[in-house]
């Protein structure tokens, strides 16, 4: 019953957060000193497309439509929310007309999800392993060195690491490809190797930073847990180190990190956007970037609304799952 109330409360907050975020998105184009329609027109004509006055007028009208600039502010606002929440329709892409924005996003999403999920998982496994071992024997030289490395890696932003990796492994030593080109027939072995090969550097830039964080925090938790009564008891019982670590220490050390992960998702998403742009990786980040370059307002609004909704959803899902996997939390 109490759990139900917790879930209901969290869902209400989630809905409010989404509406709040969309409200921010609605007002951002209206806050600036410049008229977004004129800015877009300037952008389109600077691309070298010649248009006569009538065509410009038509484009201006259709842009005003897509920006939702017709009617009073309240009507505009309602129409904007209604269109996104109830129909999830962002109109056609302006640069790849008449391809719907949703379809472009649907094609790009698996790439971003795949990149973020695999690299977070790899970093999670490696980071837990190293963090546990070095936290268990904190005075060993190898533990100190690992922590030093982790401390130097964690504060580096993803895109800086992405740059360093691409300078080292694509320019200086030409091992990995500079930009992403996926080859091979669908469902073939060629395609899989091509994807892995091309995703390696972008994924590494995320893995290394997240790895640094997990080592730092799991090590701190493990060192603290060593002093706990139940760990001492397990030792006195004569259990092996491996068993104590995996059954007694590990669950207690990683659970608190899950809430942290919820807070970190937004930052990770930010980072992966730039990494994708730097590597020409065909995910949502690159889609946002090409929308900016080509002045494709529909695509821009669609990708950005959806990424905000995705981050908010992921945060909520983690919040909801957490009490289910942590038996110490009871909803009274």
């Amino acid at each position: 019953m109490n759990l139900l109330r917790y879930i209901a409360g969290r869902l209400v907050v989630y809905a409010l957060v989404i509406v709040f975020a969309l409200t921010v998105l609605f007002f951002v184009p209206r806050l600036g000193p410049t008229d977004p329609v004129e800015a877009m027109l300037a952008k389109v004509s600077s691309q070298g497309a010649y248009m006569d006055a009538a065509q410009v007028d038509m484009l201006r009208q259709s842009l005003a439509d897509t920006f939702g600039l017709n009617g009073t502010l309240l009507e505009q606002y309602w129409a904007f929310i209604k269109r996104i929440v109830f129909t999830a329709d962002f109109g056609p892409s302006l640069s790849m007309y008449p391809m719907p924005v949703m379809e472009l996003i649907r094609n790009a999403l698996p790439w971003t999800f795949g990149l973020l999920l695999t690299s977070t998982l790899i970093a999670w496994v490696l980071g837990n392993f190293v963090g546990l071992l070095s936290g268990w024997r904190p005075t060993r030289k190898s533990s100190r060195i690992m922590e030093g490395i982790a401390i130097c890696l964690y504060p580096i932003p993803y895109y800086i690491l992405a740059l360093i990796l691409s300078i080292l492994f694509s320019y200086v030593w030409k091992i990995f490809p500079l930009t992403t080109t996926i080859r091979g027939a669908p469902w073939s072995w060629d395609l899989v190797t091509s994807i892995v090969w091309n995703s390696f550097l972008p994924a590494m830039s995320i893995v290394i930073v997240v790895f640094g964080w997990w080592v730092i925090s799991v090590k701190a938790q493990t060192t603290a847990l060593r002093e706990e009564e139940f760990v001492r008891y397990a030792k006195l019982k004569g259990l092996s180190d491996g068993r104590i670590l995996s059954r007694y220490v590990l669950p207690n050390a990683i659970l608190p990190q899950i809430t942290f992960l919820a807070l970190q998702i937004g930052l990770m998403f930010n980072g992966s956007l730039i990494t994708e742009i730097l590597f020409d990786y065909p995910g949502v980040g690159l889609l946002i970037y090409s929308a900016v370059l080509q002045g494709d307002f529909n695509l821009l609004m669609g990708t950005i609304s959806l990424s905000i909704i995705a981050v908010a959803t992921a945060t909520m899902v983690i919040d909801l799952i957490y009490p289910l996997i942590d038996p110490r939390i009871r909803h009274r």
């Binding site: 184009p29 580096i156 998403f269 980072g271 946002i288 821009l300």
Partner: protein, 279 residues
Amino acid sequence: MRSFFIHAPFRLYLGIFLVAVFVLLGAILPWFAPSDPLVWYTAPRNQNPSAAHWLGTTSLGQDVFWLLTYALRNSLMLGLVVGGLSTIIGVFLGLAAGYAGGWLDRVLSFFMDALLCIPTLPILILMAALFGGQLALPIIGIILVVFNWPYPARQVRAVALTMREREFINVAWFSGESSVRILVRQIFPYIAGWSAANFINTVLVGISTESAVAVIGLSSAQQATLGTMIYWAINYQALLAGKYVWVGSPVLSIVLLFIGLFLVSSGLAMKSSARRMSV
């Protein structure tokens, strides 16, 4: 102050040293620049590092070393302003929410949670795209403050909530102290160390986010920052030309500066949590 230097962990020293080097580079050296390094063709083009040009020159005839000092100055300034304002606003609103409770707490908490869920970078990209392809540094600063005050606010609110129940707060309350005095004299000392750590961390986030926007060419073109330096270098094919010093110097500066800032902020956090334990 004396005890600070005796008990401060090693990582704090190392961090302070690293940050101090960059602050000196960015705060003092720009005054001595022989000419405005932003102006093209004030130096011979495409020079390798030499005695006259310590880090070489760009293909636009700019001295990389002096350009770097300007970039450091602007990036640090932005970080300081964002960190300072976010921390002040966050601590103030966090205290207000935790201490006042009731509807004020509920409204403020909602805004904190909501803002934490919204990724900053897409908002910045959207604004840059709408306002002519580039954002001025003050605008980036304002947006970063809007999205970064909830971090300290949430933490401070949690501290303030537990503080309300403490004995010594009750004592102060019953001895007739005003709410403001209780906040300033009794509660603030508890959160001061942590706020300092958060301030440093927000400086890092501020510089990092601006650089992210800049690296893809959406930050100010009139000002050099660490991110715009990287953007120019990539844009003018420094990598293909093998001019790694041009790209490498801002990249390496960011890495070392951020490691320094992280060491300071985690060192401060360790210190303040050690002190809380001992109370």
